[in-house]
């Protein structure tokens, strides 16, 4: 392995950016491909697939055998609101491989008692997200029902291209939210990315069931990154 390739790969991994190490198994030469880099032909198609799935593997292209080792940042879920839904969502998401952080400035809600073993910030999203910015391997679910708390975080999630953005509330509530986000400078295309009402439509009724619906929608968003509605690479 080229020492510079290793250094570059580790730098990408530390910065939570996706990268693939492409090794020619014939002559041991390797190089780093970053997400968004253009690679032509069969190799390029295999690389695009590996970025989406996160699966590593060998590929035959140009009469050679390449090994693609896909290094994707661990996806994670930021939840705005230390509410009943979040109490169920945090442990379930962690088990599914999506570690959770919860942000809620209301200290009566954001207590370690209610949220054992979860990264919990009893602060405004503005303050936490300034320190710890969102990124495209982060999902954001806003579930406080309070525009003062949710709106800034939703706008930040759209700007950071979070792979999933969901917001709790009825269609009527969401229509009002759309007006406010437009006023904050969000574009219509950005706003169309918000999942609202939140969660896959499984008829969820209880807070724990809503948490399942949100987690399922998050997983679906992660596993279909970069695909259009027909399943082709965008």
């Amino acid at each position: 392995m080229d020492p510079y390739a290793l250094k570059a790969l580790n730098a990408e991994r530390r910065a939570r950016r996706a990268a693939i190490l492409v090794t020619d198994l014939g002559d041991a030469r390797d190089r780093i491909v970053r997400e968004g880099d253009q690679v032509a032909g069969d190799l390029g198609a295999a690389i695009a697939k590996a970025f989406r799935s996160g699966n590593s593997g060998s590929v035959e292209a140009e009469g050679r055998t390449f090994f693609l080792n896909a290094h994707l940042p661990q996806p994670r879920l930021v939840v705005i609101g230390a509410v009943h839904i979040s109490q169920a969502l945090a442990p379930m998401a962690k088990i599914a491989g999506y570690p959770v952080e919860i942000i809620d400035p209301r200290t009566a809600f954001a207590t370690p008692d209610r949220f054992p073993d979860v990264a919990l910030h009893a602060e405004w999203p503005e303050d936490v997200l300034k320190r710890q910015p969102l990124d495209s391997y982060t999902a954001l679910a806003a579930v406080t029902h309070d525009p003062k708390i949710d709106d800034f975080a939703l706008k930040a999630a759209l700007d950071a291209n979070c792979f999933y953005v969901g917001a709790l509330g009825s269609r009527k509530t969401h229509a009002k939210r759309v007006e406010r986000l437009l006023a904050l400078g969000a574009t219509a295309d950005q706003i169309a990315r918000i999942h609202a009402p939140i969660g896959l439509d499984i008829g969820a009724a209880s807070p724990a069931e809503i948490a399942v619906a949100v987690l399922a929608q998050t997983i679906h968003a992660f596993r279909s990154r970069g695909l259009d509605a027909k399943g082709a690479v965008a």
Binding site: R14, G57, F67
Partner: protein, 112 residues
């Protein structure tokens, strides 16, 4: 957010390999490139080895690491990458194998 939550630098084989390289050590990197059937570590998993035989990470559940380390020390010496293949151990022969019944291919190369 804080990367240290997500990249366990003290146990991450590729981070350790970079550290070893900075310390002037000779290093080999072993990578699982293919698996068949039941295999304990997925494709892409790493074991990193230095010239003294110190290692971090894994390519199996501890079944073949010893053999990979031995090969890796040779690879550090020669600089020539090798493809190793491990399957179920032959019961009559005393050889390294995977008791789980799977087969794996491990690519071993020198760093630099």
């Amino acid at each position: 957010m804080n990367d240290s939550h997500y990249l366990d630098e003290a146990r991450d084989p590729l981070i350790i390999a970079e550290g070893w390289m900075k310390d002037g050590k000779d290093v080999a990197i072993a990578t699982v490139v293919e698996t068949w059937g039941s295999a304990p570590r997925p494709v892409g998993s790493h074991l990193v080895i230095d010239a003294e035989g110190n290692f971090h990470g894994s390519v199996s559940g501890g079944c073949v690491e010893g053999a990979v380390v031995t090969e890796a020390i040779d690879v550090i010496g020669s600089g020539k990458a090798r493809m190793l293949e491990f399957g179920v151990a032959d019961e009559t022969a005393w050889q390294v194998g995977l008791s789980c019944g799977g087969r794996i291919k491990v690519y071993v190369e020198r760093l630099g």
